[in-house]
Every structure is written in C-alpha cells, then in structure tokens.
Symmetry: none
Subunit: 203 residues, 4 copies
C-alpha cells in the first residue's frame, strides 16, 4: 500500500475512534488519551494525524456533511414534474438519510448533539449548515411551484425550514436508536412524508 494511502487509512481509523468516543462520552468529556486508548496507540500518535482536538471534530463533521451531501445530491431537484414523482423522491431521500444515520449511530449523535455546542464556532457552523440544507430543500419546492404541482402561494423559505425540521425530528429518533429496523424506518418515512404532503388533516 502506498504510504499516502496508509496515512489516509490511519486518519480514518483515528477519526472513527474519535467519533465513537465523542458520541459515547461527549466532546468535552473526551480526552485525546481516551481516543488513543481505544485504538491502543500512544496519544502522541494522534498528533501526527490531527493538529488538535478541534481539528478532529472538524474532520469528522466534514465527513458527515459530505455523506449527507451525497445523499441529497443523489436526487435532482428539477427532475420531477408531478407531486407523485416528488413524493417518491422525498421517500428515497428520507430512506437514504435514515440509512445513513441508523447504520452509524455515532454520526447521528455527533451531528445532532456533540457538534452543536462544542464551541462557538462549531455552533455557528451548525446553524449555517441548517440554513444550507434549507436552501437545498427550497430548490425542490421551487421546482414544484414552477412546474405547477405545488401551490403558487407556498412560502418556500418557511416551508423549506419546516420540512427540514420534520426530517430533523425523524432522524433524531435514530440518535436514540428507536428507528433501528426496516419496519420502524418505513413507519417514520411514511409518517413524515404524509405530513409533509397532506398535513395532519389531509387524507
């Protein structure tokens, strides 16, 4: 294996261990020594691969963001022409997100809990990320309005936030592990999709 790849592999190993430890103990309660101990390496080794403790959280979160981005990018916001198509798209995205978060619960916890208040800069980044995801969702809604399959008077910005909030709430269940099996996941996806498209009062 080329040394460059080996380094990358090591970074990944350490990042994984860090993610799990952060998720288990919390970012602040985790010492570099805890991460190193989990891997059975000297804690000095950590600093060969990451600048400092912040750096690894940043790295781990960028990974999460990338993977979230991959799921979102797997669909084209302008590809749908009917509500049914869009709804199918939403289900696919929802299942992708659930898959991601339930397959690696540490990621969910990092994203929803540990990164939020780790420090001021992370907080801001987290809030920025929410805004960014709202923008993505808004693009889908805009497509619906443009195509005429969503009401022209839909408040896109507010609705995008609200839709994301629903998904957020659903995924949060993954943090507590209460969306583990396929049936449960299906229930969440269906429930949220229904609410999203027809509301609680809709049929």
């Amino acid at each position: 294996m080329p040394p460059e790849e080996l380094t990358e592999r090591r970074r990944r190993e350490i990042a994984d261990a860090a993610a799990i430890t952060f998720a288990e103990q919390g970012y602040h309660a985790t010492g570099i020594a805890d991460i190193a101990r989990r891997l059975g390496i000297g804690h000095g080794t950590f600093y060969r691969y990451f600048k400092n403790k912040r750096d690894i959280l940043k790295f781990v979160l960028s990974e999460v963001t990338r993977r979230l981005g991959d799921v979102l990018a797997s669909e084209d916001p302008t590809a749908t022409t009917t509500v049914e198509e869009y709804r199918a798209q939403v289900v696919r995205i929802g299942e992708g997100l659930f898959e991601l978060f339930t397959s690696e619960p540490a990621i969910a916890r990092l994203f929803y809990v540990e990164s939020v208040g780790a420090d001021h800069e992370f907080s801001e980044q987290w809030l920025d990320a929410q805004a960014a995801y709202a923008t993505v969702t808004a693009r889908y809604l805009q497509n619906g309005v443009d195509r005429g399959f969503l009401p022209a008077d839909l408040d896109i910005e507010v609705s995008a936030r609200a839709v994301n909030g629903m998904i957020f709430a659903g995924l949060l269940a993954a943090v507590r592990g209460s969306a583990g099996d396929a049936a449960e996941r299906e229930r969440w996806v269906q429930g949220i999709t229904r609410l999203m498209f027809t509301g609680i009062a809709g049929g």
Copy 2:
C-alpha cells in the same frame, strides 16, 4: 424583604447573568469568574447560591422548561372539537412560543445550542425533553382523532415528533434573530401551521 425572598432574588439575578453569558460565549467557554464579573460580585459568592457550574445551567434550563410548559399549559389538549378550533389553538401556542424565544434570545440559544452538548447528562435530558414535548403534542393529535376531526389512521407518535420538528425549525430562526418583528413572526406561524394542517401540496 424577608431573607428567603432576597436569596431567591439573588439566585435569579445570577441565573440571568449566567444565561446571557452562556448564550454569548458558550457554556464551556464561560468561567464562573465571567458570570461574577458581569454582576460585579466576587466569584466566591456564586457558590453561596449555586452548588456548582452545572447546577446553574440546570437551574436556567429548568426555568426555560417551566416557561415553555406555561405556554403549552395555556391550552387544553382536549378542549377542541373541530379542526378550525385546533388550528386556532396551534396558532396561539406558536405565537406564545415565538414570543418567548424572540423576547429573550438568550433563552432560545441556551435551549437550542448550549444545553444540547454541555455534557452527557444534559444531552440525555435534552433528548428526554424532546420526547416529553412529543407526548404533549401527541395528546392534541389524539384528541383530534378521538373527536373525529383528524384521520383515524394518523400515526400519532410519528406525527407528533414531526410537528414538533417543524416548530423547532421555526423557533430556530429566533436564535439567529431572523424572526424579530411581528410580521416576520406571523409569516413563520402561518407558514408552519399551513404545512402542519394541509401539507405542502394542500390548498
């Protein structure tokens, strides 16, 4: 003023200062000395009113929880018999929540950001709180189903979470201060209520 009340008043003062400081600098980045300095008291005095640093965050959060509870308790989940009545109720609750969070932005930030990952126990409490609020919302939904103005096949648990997620997302705007004036607030409340009752596709 009786000494007991004086003590209570002092606790409140310290708690307020702490809340603002936590919101500004973050829980971990805030030192006891920072809080004391803001009040112009010796930092040893702090410990006459609170056991430790955790204790004050706990106290502040319990205040927030109490005030949130007050808003929610201002309505009766079983009092409504029609969708219109329930919708009016939701608007009232939403406006109460927005009022609370925008009138004291520090509270919003504490609730949404600082308390989330302060430490493992707070995280758990935060997740518990979400569950508790879902239970409250579920009671409203259950009432609707029982009364027949909401569909019988509504997945109450999932929907309650999703509804709260929408509200959560809306209130989050308050953290960034983008829901300051009355018009903006109205827009959020209306947008979210519409989505909640008729979905994005509904008229």
Copy 3:
C-alpha cells in the same frame, strides 16, 4: 497591610524564588512546579501572580536592569573635570556593581547566563542591553574628551564597548563566587581601573 502591597510582596517572593531556581537549575530546566515547591505553594498560585514562565524571567530581569541602572545613575557623567575625578567615579561605580552582583549571586548568574539564550527575544534584549550600557559609558568618555582630560582622538564607541567588556569580565568572577570578600573585590576594581586608565603597559 493593604492588599495591593500584599500582592506586590507576593510577587517579590515568587520572583526571588524563581531567580534562585533559575540560577541553580537553569531557565529551561526549571519548571513552574520547581519554583512553587521551593515556596511551598501550589503551582496554580504562581499563575495568579505571573502570566507565564517567560513573564517571570522578564520581571526578574527588569529588576536586575533597574538595579544596575540605579548604580549607574548614582554618578553624573558630566560632573568630572579631571582624570582623577573620573577615576574615582569609576571606582565607585565598579564597587557598586560588584556589591550588587556579589551580594546576590543569583542576579549575576541570571544576567550573565540564564537570560542570554533563554529564547530569541531575550537574546536580542540582552544584546540591546549591552548596547545601552555602552551608550552610558560613552557619555562618560565623551565628557572626558570634551573637558580635555581624555585624548581627543579616542574612539569613544569602541572604547566604551571595551571598557564595559572589562567590567563585564570582572563581574563575571562574581558568578563563580570568586570575588566574595572585600579584599578580593578591591583587587578586581583596582586591577580593572588601572587597565582602563593606563593599560597594561602603563605605570
């Protein structure tokens, strides 16, 4: 005792302990813990009085500089009109410097040894200090030339450096403790003064 004065007294105590420890073990080999242990205080206490390790060396050196300055300022460079007067002045200054350095050997060692290469900035400061002392000496020489009791063609800048170098060498003896008693001191002062005024070849 007013608290301000108490703080000053404590700083002095810590500075003294630091000076001795630096002199005994060397600046880099000395840990904050060593200084604290010598005083029987917790090492955290150190940081109440000094920002960090560099800070205390800076403080101690500024003290040394101040005391050196006091000795030099005790004479007036322009007050003498004859070689004999100037020579008497030199003897007085020399004795003052010897007194200072032999009464507190730690000071001598700090000045000549520990501060020199502590870090790059200290090195530069040390070199600057040498230049500054040369300027002072030059003022005396200039007075001599102006008054006509020193040769008009004296290279003042070079001579000032050289004179200081002689004194430097003499005081260095104090570092090793070989100029402890009064007789020994007298020998150094006389020897250097003779060399300074008439050279090795002079009568």
Copy 4:
C-alpha cells in the same frame, strides 16, 4: 572515499546545519526535525551520527573551541621581548579572531549566545572556557613581566580577565554584524589594542 571519512564528512554536514539552525532559532527552539529538514534528510538519520541533541551542540562547540585554539596557538606567548612585538602579536591575534567570527557569524552567535545558557553543564563549560582563555592570556602577560617589558606589579590574573573582556566585547559586535567590513574590523582591533596597552588616558 573510505567509509570512515564519509561518516566524518556527514557529521560535518549535519553539524554545520545544526550550527546555523541553532544560531537562527536558538538551541531550545530548534528541533532535530528542523536540522534534518534543512539538510533534506530524515530526522532519524541524525541519530546515526550523533547520540542526541546535546551531543551535537557539544560537537559544534568543540569545533569552535578548536578553531579559537588554532588562532591562539598561532602565536607563541614567550616569543616576544618588547612591548612593540607583543602589541603586534595582539593585533595579529585580534585580527584572526575577528576574521573567524565575522566570516561565520553563526559561530559567533553560538559561542556568545546559544551555548551560554543551553543547560547547566554548558553554562559551566562556558565559564570554564573563559577561565581557560584567561590562562592563555595570562601566559602572554607573564612573559611581558618576566621579560621586563610589562610592569612587575601588574595583577596578571585580573588583567588577563579584563583583556579578554575587552576582546569579548569587540567580538560581540560581530554577533550583531556591525563589524563586517575590513575597515570596521581594523577600527575595533586598533581601538581595543590601544586601550589594552595605554588605557583610555594614555596617548
């Protein structure tokens, strides 16, 4: 080239790089990695040629000492029979020393700054070296007294120290680079020699 010689050549290369790096950054601020990087070698390689970090400073200083010794050994302390001859000798030695220190400023800095307080043992060695150089100078002075061209009552020990102090001060100028060109060097050598032989008051 025989392997033994090759090793010696490599040691020299590393020592040169170390000397420059120490001079530029300071002994303590210099890491083995810095030296290795300058040479474009792996920092593990360093340890094939030197036992440890101290070892290389020791080696570099021994080189300096050797070269200083070469300059001093180029003259015979007992060869002179008149003041004029001795004075010429002093000028030659002085020029040799200036030549050495200005041609390689790193050496000057190492000798005067970095080695002084590197650690306790180096400090002692540095003080020892001063004593040793004083002994050499004393031999010249003793010769002058024995031959009758220096006063019989000259305090040889003190004067030797003082003379070296003057030279020390002069060479120090090289550290700051203010004795770079030939004219400047001549000025220093002449100024110091004059002071040494006839004092500031002498003609």
